[in-house]
């Protein structure tokens, strides 16, 4: 009954609520140590998806990380760590903040602007790409991890 739902690799969502539901579904395929990289334009629905992930993982509302302004933590049975790397200048800056303890830690990490993390992004990661099709319609492409490690 609580088994993993079929993973949809590609879908069209109509509005924020559907994008959030997509996040909720994706969350059921995720566990501790999983990293999800999001890409898409501003307003494409990345934040909605993160909200859905948090809901799907059974997390409580986000709290700003006390030590890490790039990070919001959603505490829960499987915590969700939401990184927004927009303001990150160099990958070294991320490393100096101890990112590995999140990436290889007890929860799920979701990254916006993941490309800014350079080689620090674990090789084994999920990708979700957003494409704006219309005012409220979006195409989401979900790519599961291709490799181990």
């Amino acid at each position: 009954m609580t088994g993993k739902p079929t993973l949809l690799r590609e879908m069209i969502t109509h509005g924020a609520e559907e994008t959030e539901q997509a996040g909720e579904r994706l969350a059921r395929n995720l566990g501790p140590g999983d990293v999800v990289a999001l890409s898409g334009d501003l307003g494409a629905g990345k934040t909605c998806l993160v909200r859905g992930l948090a809901r799907g993982l059974g997390c409580r509302p986000a709290v700003a990380s006390p030590t890490f302004t790039l990070l919001h933590e959603y505490p829960g049975r499987i915590p969700l760590y939401h990184f927004d790397l927009y303001r990150l200048k160099t990958p070294a800056e991320l490393e100096d903040l101890g990112c590995d303890e999140y990436f290889y830690g007890d929860g799920v990490c979701v990254l916006e602007w993941a490309e800014k993390s350079g080689s620090l992004l674990p090789a084994r990661h999920w990708e979700v790409r957003f494409e704006i099709l219309g005012d409220s319609t979006r195409r989401l492409r979900i790519e599961p991890p291709r490799q181990k490690g």
Partner: protein, 240 residues
């Protein structure tokens, strides 16, 4: 020689290890596996330790800390706690490589220490016991397992450290050569050994608190160095 009361903190691995020692005698020690961040339990654990040893923090005459390499958060918490105590009590501090501590606790003479650095890389060091103490034949480095294999000496080498089991198991039997696996219980650096190793340094005056620096071996830095064709060695440390 006057007895010296030393606190030792080893926070570089998922196991938090603390010891109070006087004259190389362990008054109290504790080992715990915090489920959450080490920062949340270090101070309460210290309080219990002082209570069990029936001494007060203000009685301390030296503080020793393991500098890693290892857990980023653990090292920050351990080093800053050691700095805070040394500074406020005006007592000497000493920082030692956690890998040297692991080597010294192994019971062997030639010791390879390995820890997981993720993304198929290892932190590693090779220590040799000598009449003068422990000598690093390979200083703390960040490298790929296959590169480490090429650097191992002939002869018997004991493997220890948090990733000992994983490193050993991943080697094909033909590549194991003189490598000897130690029981898992002897693979993590412990505060009792740290206290013993640090004592002579603390008696000699130690270092200033601000000179205690975790041994961070950063991947991003390693890539820059490698791009220039160089090797990655540890930086930081206790600049005694």
């Amino acid at each position: 020689m006057k007895a010296m009361l030393i606190l030792a903190l080893e926070t570089s691995t998922p196991r938090l290890s603390l010891a109070l020692a006087q004259d190389l005698r362990i008054l109290a020690h504790s080992e715990s596996w915090p489920e959450r961040r080490p920062a949340e339990i270090l101070l309460p654990e210290l309080q219990k330790l002082f209570h069990r040893a029936r001494v007060r923090p203000r009685d301390l005459e030296g503080v020793a800390v393991g500098l890693g390499p290892g857990s980023f958060t653990g090292l920050r918490v351990g080093v800053s706690t050691a700095q805070g105590l040394a500074q406020s009590l005006r007592i000497p501090a000493a920082g030692l490589s956690s890998f040297q501590v692991a080597a010294a606790g192994s019971g062997a003479d030639t010791v390879l220490v390995v820890a997981d650095a993720h993304r198929d890389l290892l932190y590693a060091a090779l220590y040799q016991r000598s009449s003068a103490g422990w000598e690093a034949r390979l200083p703390e480095s960040l490298l790929a397992p296959e590169d480490l294999r090429d650097r191992l000496p002939a002869g018997e080498v004991a493997v220890t450290g948090p990733a000992a089991e994983a490193f050993f198991s991943a080697l094909p039997a033909s590549a194991r050569g003189g490598l000897k696996r130690l029981p898992a219980t002897r693979c993590l650096p412990g505060a009792e050994v740290l206290a013993r190793l640090a004592e002579p340094r603390l008696r000699a005056g130690g270092v200033r608190p601000e000179d205690l620096q975790p041994l961070y071996l950063r991947r991003t830095q390693a890539e820059e160095v490698r791009a220039r064709g160089g090797e990655v060695k540890s930086s930081g440390g206790d600049r005694a």
